[in-house]
Symmetry: C2
Subunit: 298 residues, 2 copies
Amino acid sequence: MTAAALVAVDWGTSSLRGALLDARGQVIAERAAPRGILTVVPGTFPAVFAELFGDWMGQAGHALICGMAGSRQGWAEAPYCPAPAALADLAARLHWVLPGRVGIVPGVTCDMHGVPDVMRGEETQVIGSLRITGLQDATLVLPGTHSKWVQVRGGAIAGFRTFMTGEIFALLAQHSILARTLQDDGGVLDEEAFRVGVRHARDHAAGLLHGAFSARTLSLFDRLPAAAGRSYLSGLVIGEELRAAAPPAGSDVVLTGGEALTQRYAIALEAAGVRGTRIGSEAAWAGLWAIAQALPAR
Amino acid sequence: MTAAALVAVDWGTSSLRGALLDARGQVIAERAAPRGILTVVPGTFPAVFAELFGDWMGQAGHALICGMAGSRQGWAEAPYCPAPAALADLAARLHWVLPGRVGIVPGVTCDMHGVPDVMRGEETQVIGSLRITGLQDATLVLPGTHSKWVQVRGGAIAGFRTFMTGEIFALLAQHSILARTLQDDGGVLDEEAFRVGVRHARDHAAGLLHGAFSARTLSLFDRLPAAAGRSYLSGLVIGEELRAAAPPAGSDVVLTGGEALTQRYAIALEAAGVRGTRIGSEAAWAGLWAIAQALPAR
């Protein structure tokens, strides 16, 4: 029997998942629950944690948590670690909610042209991605509701930018005038329509305010099948993110996240001449394990 | 007593307004009603029109309507007039719903880089703005839910682009994560916060997907008062429209629309070194009058 060594938890806004890791950081078991921080009554985080992971805690004794559980609306606010932030900085600033037993990884903040940016949870996926790839200098892209483009220098998070890509896609698809002509596609990608959207965003650099309207007019003139509308819009919005982030052609990026989304980004990046190395959600476990190993001796 | 000569109606998606014009095109009376086309049961447009304007029709005998009443979801579909579209083209393609008595002005379509764009209602405001200013060559901006940037050459609408500025502002302010920290400001502009948003959009040309997130982070770090949040976001979104539309510094544009919105655009344009001449909603009446005068003899 493998000895359990760490309960690793990625506790986000709308969902939560955990893994039980052995003494080499390998996953023994995984579980997920629809218990994002928005579903937790303030003051009941310890009880919800015990209910979900009490059995694993009995085996492993320790837990590390990353994500929005460390925000003002979460279990306890873990103050942001300023960039540049390396593994040792995150470990040194771990915020213990149950001393010596349960710790929350701090988010990271950086200053871009006088405007702050923030991440919570992605810093851990970055650390994990660096461990998995062995890279010390890289550009990482973590697609999602709020995509992050992260510059890593010498193993530390040097700076990053947030793009509200997933959220604005959902707003346009569900609540805007475009919703009238878009059909539910069950999340199935129409790759050709997606590529057309990416190209349109790249070639007509007038930005999303103008570009998004093409999803309506192409449909009005029967030049975009209703069933392909969501894929086209997805291509437009992701293409706009790429246009703005502007990775140089010929460069490499690490794409960390869920399979469906990193696949779309890989297609869009390829069209821009950028190679994307895809890493799955195991990055969070690798990151939490690396932080656990780096904790100052107690 | 002034003789009534034309009932002029601007019938939009969510609202409707009308004016009774005299034989020189001057406004005798105006009225508005919350009877946008979305509130009208298909097939009942003639009855709604008679209820709202029957008295004026008794005096004037004729009516011209512009706006979404001419769309597929409106009274009757008035096929788009392709650009370049001059006054005479619009008059020649007037779509009569009550022959000789009630006509609908067609919208205009253009092709921009292989992607169609459309307007319905704005073409009439453009014609009116040209009448009011005496211009034959100009760039017109019609801010709104869907802003239009219109190029006029030799008195004709040569081409235009739509920006979903007002709609995306509303989605961000009401339905996105930004809504959590924005306070209702009753539509009162905080000019300083608005200017900061315009500057941010201009100086950090990473587009709205990234820029919008600054409304959250500035608020997180107490660098943007909650009461100024909507003005800042408004500046960001309008600033992004200007960045994308990119009018040359030193140029002039005609700004046609409601006072509150054209004021904001005038401030943002001024920051970009562009002079904006503001024209109010009387542009629609001037446009409908001009079209009525240009109708082919019957």
